[in-house]
């Protein structure tokens, strides 16, 4: 009886504490203001986008991100989507890889020499280009098409991967991200199957990751979630990566893009 009572008391205490401290680090973020070092990646990315490079000495200004050749602003809000020229559903990163190869003659391997940057000596061009492109869609609402059968298929595959339990820890994305109110230490975990959380999570990537001093993209976020689940490496721009992105992007429909943001 005593034990039951103390358990009850404890759980009441825990409940009231968590109600007060839903987001104990909100103040910290608030005080950071809008001076975001992501700016440096955006600037570099814009330069890379506009610079004539590669064997074809061309820039990327003729790249079609879905809204027509050369249209950058707002494109990210409608990605991933089906592209007729590649007959594939592509997300932003995989589309940029296609453009770099076709327009500039730069191979994906070359573009991905540094997938995820590490300091000034190992800068990732893809992170910079992604930061720039996403920044031009700031304020646009997510609106992902599900009209094409391949778009529907990509969403379905993404949903399946999201719930797929595997690895040494019998984990899935859903283990952490399919229930509201979960957290790791002080970090609230978004429920990516619930609209509000899914929107908030999606529209805030890419982000300048304070703990790493680096800009990180959605591609990195997924890759790192796979690592944390002890899954095999998620191949950059792969069908699986695009499908998972499709699932998350579609669930975020209506969310207004804020990225690049700053995260812990």
């Amino acid at each position: 009886m005593k034990r039951v009572l103390s358990y009850l008391l404890l759980s009441v205490f825990a409940a009231s504490a968590s109600a007060q401290e839903i987001d104990p680090t909100a103040e910290s973020r608030e005080l950071m203001g809008d001076d975001n070092p992501a700016f440096f990646w955006e600037t570099r990315g814009e330069a890379l986008w506009k610079e004539a490079r590669g064997p074809k000495k061309a820039n990327l200004s003729q790249c079609d991100l879905g809204l027509g050749k050369g249209v950058v602003a707002g494109a990210y809000a409608k990605l991933p989507r089906f592209f007729a020229d590649t007959a594939k559903v592509q997300d932003l990163e995989s589309r940029v890889l296609t453009c770099a190869e076709t327009l500039q003659g730069i191979t994906p391997a070359e573009m991905l020499k540094v997938r995820f940057g590490n300091g000034d000596d190992q800068r990732s061009e893809m992170e910079a280009i992604t930061a720039y492109l996403v920044s031009t869609s700031k304020g646009a609402a997510m609106q992902v098409s599900m009209k094409h059968p391949k778009e529907k298929a990509a969403y379905a595959l993404g949903e399946q991967i999201f719930h797929y339990r595997s690895g040494t820890h019998d984990f899935s994305c859903a283990t952490c991200h399919a229930e509201s109110g979960k957290r790791i230490r002080l970090q609230a975990l978004p429920n990516l199957t619930a609209k509000a959380d899914a929107q908030k999570a999606y529209v805030t990537w890419p982000a300048y990751r304070i703990s790493q001093g680096e800009l990180r993209t959605m591609e990195w976020r997924l890759n790192d979630c796979f690592r944390q689940q002890r899954f095999p490496d998620l191949q950059y721009g792969s069908e699986a990566a695009v499908a998972l992105t499709m699932f998350l992007a579609k669930n975020a429909d209506g969310g207004v893009l804020e990225a690049p943001t700053m995260k812990r």
């Binding site: 203001g33 001076d35 975001n36 070092p37 700016f39 440096f40 600037t43 570099r44 300091g119 000034d120 001093g213």
Partner: protein
């Protein structure tokens, strides 16, 4: 080569508010590489901001200022269109100066 700073200077009331972001690793000299070797200290140790030939802020920094440093300050005696210039120097002797017009 270091990235240009982002300097935003704007008139707020009768003052000029300046916000600066600098691209710099601000390496403390206390961290280790994967191989166990110490990553040498590399940080901005001096910042000077000026406007119309007058120093409006100067600072000595140590390696505990965060990576990609942020600095904000306010001063009087300048107007829209005047240039604010910021110079940083690091412990390796590298330096960079950028400027922006007051908006």
């Amino acid at each position: 080569m270091s990235d240009p700073m982002r300097i935003r200077a704007s008139v707020v009331g009768d003052k000029v508010e300046v916000k600066v972001l600098m691209a710099h690793p601000m390496e403390s000299g206390l961290r280790k590489n994967a191989d166990g070797s110490i990553i040498p200290a590399h940080f901005i140790d001096r910042v000077v901001a000026s406007c119309k030939g007058k120093t409006v802020l100067a600072a000595d920094w140590g390696p505990a200022v965060s990576k990609n440093p942020y600095l904000s300050f306010r001063f009087s005696g300048a107007a829209k269109g005047d240039m604010v210039s910021v110079t940083w120097t690091d412990n390796k002797g590298d330096t960079r100066t950028d400027e922006a017009a007051i908006a």
